[in-house]
Structures are given as structure tokens and as C-alpha cells.
Amino acid sequence: MAGPVADTREISGSDLISALHLAQQAPAILGQASRSGDTPNSSDTADYYARLEQLLLACLRTGDDQSAQTCLNRLSLRFGPSNERIMGLRGLYEEATAKDQPALEKCLQEYDNTLSQSPVNVPILKRRVALLRSLNRPSDAISGLIQLLDAIPTDAEAWCELADLYQSQGLGSQAIFSLEEALLIAPNSWNIHSRLGELLYICASEGDASRLLGRSVQHFSRSIELCDDYLRGFYGLTLASTRMLDNDYAGVSGQLPKKTLERLKAFALLKLGEIVESRSVDDQHWASSRSELIAAKELLNRQ
């Protein structure tokens, strides 16, 4: 019994392969509960329900709708169908199993109905934004998200989503603003720091390039300072410092001197090499970030 539990924790579940691994454990996890059904206390822990929720998400991604339905039923049996989080999960399930466009529209209708009754139902508010986005109505999604953030400005997840939406619409500076807000809530998250670095790097093609690139290097450096083997951070640092050197921004008004930039680039390349080497050996463990690894290898070959 301990085996699948430990595995569930280890796999991050952010890519399809590990989601599939997770979903394949459905019979084990769901069966475990029915076996110990005569002693409800043993399975009635927060841990168990958190796992059920994870399993529900994984099953939906991999198309195992039946197991997903079972998970959802167990959750709503325990917490009641009017629990906000359960409502959000049910909405997710309906969306995932919707056959065509009109079915999705119907989901949207339902969300609007729910929200007119309880306007601060956060999971449903978020589902509505996600649904608008998948219905290809990004401007509606953005305005919905702004409305949500106006009421709940301390939600880092929503700020990140807003940044992503803005970026997809080509509104770089708004996206940067949103990510900065997310960072103000979670100042030590190295992944958001490096994401902000990426955004700044992308935006640097227009306008105030040297300043934006300088800030991009700073944020990549900060993400490395916070997590000293973060692949994306080193990758970004390599790219950003290379571009600064190529465009001769070094030494321009308040920027880093050329020597420091060269040292930064050499350091980033060195670390990238080390990381790629060590992770290629332990391939299975890093399966979820395989695409990043390939990109890093490709960058190293180019240099």
C-alpha cells in the first residue's frame, strides 16, 4: 500500500507521462478505500482526499472518465455538493466530458447562474475564466480575471494566469506587471522569477531593449540565487547575457560591465553542462522535464 502513495508524491504530474502514471494507479487508490470501507476512520484523512483530487485531475487528463466520476462522487459524498471546491471540480469534470461547443456554452451558462447566487465562489470564478479561454474568447477571460483580481488581489495563481493571458495577446508590459504582482505575494518563488526573466527577454525586442534585458538578467540571477540548480534559470541567463553581449548593451547607462556579463555567461554554460550531464544519467527521475533537458542540450551544442 505504501508503494503507490510514495510514487504519487514523487511524480509532479505536470506533464502527460507522469499524469498517465498517476491515472494508472486509479484502481489501487480507489480499491484501497473500498477494502477499508468498514472502518471509515482509517481512510477519512485530509491526505486521502487530497490524493483523490489529484487522481481526479490525472484521470481527466488521460481520458479515464469513469474513474474520474468515481473520485468526484466520493469527494462530494464527503464534503457535500455545495462545497465550493467540489463545485469547481464538478465544473471541471463537466467541461472535460463535454462533447461539443454547445455543451461548453451550457457549462458557461451554469457558472454564470452559480455566480449570480454566490458572487465570491472562487473555484467557479476561476473555472469560468479557464472555460472562456478554452472557448477562444481571451478578452472576456481577461476581463473576468481582472474582476476576480479586483476582489481578491492576493491570489498569486490568478495573477500568473493573467500574465499568461496578456502574453498570449501580445501585451508584454501588462504581462510583466501581473507577474510582478504575483511575485509580491510569493517573493521567493524562483520559477516565477525566471518566468518574469523570460517575459522581459521576450519583450526586449521592442523599445527599451537594454533596460529590459538588464532586468531580465537580474531576475534570472535571482532565481538561480534562490535555487542553485534550476535549469530554466541557467538557460535563460545564458540566452539573456548572450543577447546583451551580441547587441553591445554592456556598459550602457547603469548596465553591467562587459567582463561581468562574460563571466555570467560562462558560469551559466558551465552549470547547464553539469545539470544536463547529471540528469541524463538519472533519466527516469527527471522524465517530467525531459523537453527542457533536450532544449538545454541543443543550446549547449550551438555554443
Binding site: 465570491v120 488581489p153 511575485l183 521567493n188 540565487e225
Partner: protein, 267 residues
């Protein structure tokens, strides 16, 4: 006067032990457990905001605090000034208030405000849960067991402990080692916490689930405003805090720092 150094001996019926010491201890433990479950039952989750404006009124303050605490690790001077100006103007104008028109008026009486009433009711219920069983058991012990000396501590104590260990027994000369029934009740009342922790699992076992499901909803998670508190005052306070803030940025020189701390010497 008790003879110093000489051992006092009192002939006690051994039945005192079984009929007073044990019952008091067991009753205390059982009421403790009962009280725990009663609290869990009657404890309802803090009410989450019912409208978007209300939620904004609560969380805008947190946003200001976040900006003040974390700006140094994220923002450069320009974007910090921009945000600071926005927050300060918002706080000063009352733009984040639930209804800006009521600004400056004295806060509603918490007795008439239903939300405040509910919070006070919750506090009252918690207090009642402590008070009622205590009064009952105390009077029960007073009625049945007052005046019994039930226990002799195996170690000597100074005279200061007399009032703690011998309440209800008005003998001046009795050695401090003897414990009266009423004092045994008090000792139980204060000292059983660790026993409850052992039995009920560190006191949180029953509440954990409610917390976990509440986590998904950041609007319900925190309410920095106490009932009856005027958000406008807090806002003005926060605006002042933001105004006087010195800006610095730990991103300045971060490149040198990582080269120094993480890079090998040769680079």
C-alpha cells in the same frame, strides 16, 4: 504548631482513594474530551465574504502589507513608485472600501451588525464551553467531597504551596504535603492538557479537515479586519506606512553575488 522535622501522620481510609481521587480524575478527563467534541461541533468556519466588494475591502489591506514587505525583493524603483502611489491614493480616497459613501461615519454598532453579532456569538459560545462545565464540576466537588484530605505528596514543599494544595481545608498546622480534594480538582484542571493531547491527538485532529477544504478559497482564509473595526482607519494607517518606506532592491548586484557565491573560482 506542627513540630518541625517530625512526620505528620494522618490515618486515612483507603476508600478515600478509590471514591474521591479516581472519580475526580476520571470526570475531569471525560469532561475535557466532551468539551473538545462540543467545541468542534459548534465551531462554525469564519464567514467568508459574500460580495466581491466585501472581499476587496478585506484583502486590499493585505495587498498593501505584501507590497511593503516584499517590494524590496522584486521591484525596481520605477515600478515600486508606481504601485506605491496607486495604493496610497486608493487607501486615502477609500477606493477599496465596501461602500465609499459611508466613509467617515462611525462604524456600525457591533450589536446591530449581523456579521459582528455572529462573531461575538462565536466567542460567547467558546467561553460558555469553558465556563459551564467548570462551574458544574466545581459545585459537584464542593457538595460531595469538600474538606477531604485525599493524598500525600511524596516530597516536601514550602509553605507557599499551602493555598494551592489545601484549598477547602482550613487547618493552619497541616503539613503542605497533604492535598485536599478541591485542590486535586484544580491540579487536574490545569495539568491535564498533555493527557488530552495524548488522547485527542494534539488537539487539531478533528479540525484539520475543515481547514484543508477551506484552503482552496483565499477569500475565506483570512479576514484581517476584526468585527467592529473601521477599515478606513486601518487603510490610512497603512498608507502612512507605505509613504515612509525607503526603497531598496535586493536585485541590485545580484549578478555579482551569484558569481561570488556559486561560481567556481576559475570563471
Amino acid at each position: 504548631m506542627a513540630i518541625q522535622g517530625a512526620e505528620q501522620t494522618i490515618l486515612r481510609d483507603p476508600a478515600l482513594f478509590y471514591w474521591i481521587l479516581f472519580p475526580i480524575s476520571i470526570v475531569m478527563i471525560l469532561t475535557g474530551i466532551l468539551r473538545h467534541y462540543a467545541t468542534v461541533l459548534m465551531n462554525n468556519a469564519p464567514k467568508s465574504a459574500s460580495t466581491l466588494a466585501e472581499s476587496r475591502e478585506r484583502l486590499a489591506l493585505l495587498r498593501g502589507v505584501n507590497l511593503r514587505n516584499n517590494a524590496c525583493s522584486v521591484l525596481d524603483r520605477e515600478s515600486f513608485e508606481m504601485r506605491k502611489n496607486y495604493m496610497v491614493t486608493g487607501f486615502r480616497n477609500g477606493a477599496f472600501l465596501k461602500d465609499p459613501n459611508n466613509r467617515g461615519q462611525p462604524p456600525a454598532n457591533p450589536m446591530t451588525d449581523p456579521a459582528g453579532m455572529e462573531a461575538m456569538m462565536g466567542m460567547l459560545k467558546g467561553n460558555m464551553m469553558m465556563m459551564i462545565p467548570q462551574t458544574l464540576i466545581m459545585s459537584w466537588i464542593n457538595a460531595f467531597f469538600s474538606g477531604f484530605v485525599i493524598l500525600k505528596l511524596p516530597f516536601p514543599l514550602t509553605i507557599r504551596f499551602k493555598s494551592m494544595l489545601q484549598s477547602g481545608v482550613m487547618t493552619r498546622d497541616l503539613d503542605v504535603q497533604w492535598v485536599s480534594s478541591l485542590s486535586w480538582y484544580f491540579l487536574n484542571l490545569m495539568g491535564l492538557q498533555s493527557v488530552f493531547g495524548f488522547i485527542l491527538g494534539s488537539d487539531n485532529a478533528a479540525n484539520q479537515m475543515a481547514q484543508q477544504m477551506g484552503m482552496a478559497n483565499p477569500a475565506a482564509m483570512v479576514n484581517p479586519l476584526q468585527p467592529g473595526q473601521d477599515p478606513d482607519k486601518l487603510y490610512l494607517n497603512e498608507a502612512e506606512n507605505l509613504e515612509v518606506m525607503e526603497h531598496f532592491c535586493i536585485l541590485d548586484g545580484v549578478e555579482e553575488r551569484i558569481l561570488q557565491n556559486f561560481a567556481p573560482a576559475g570563471i
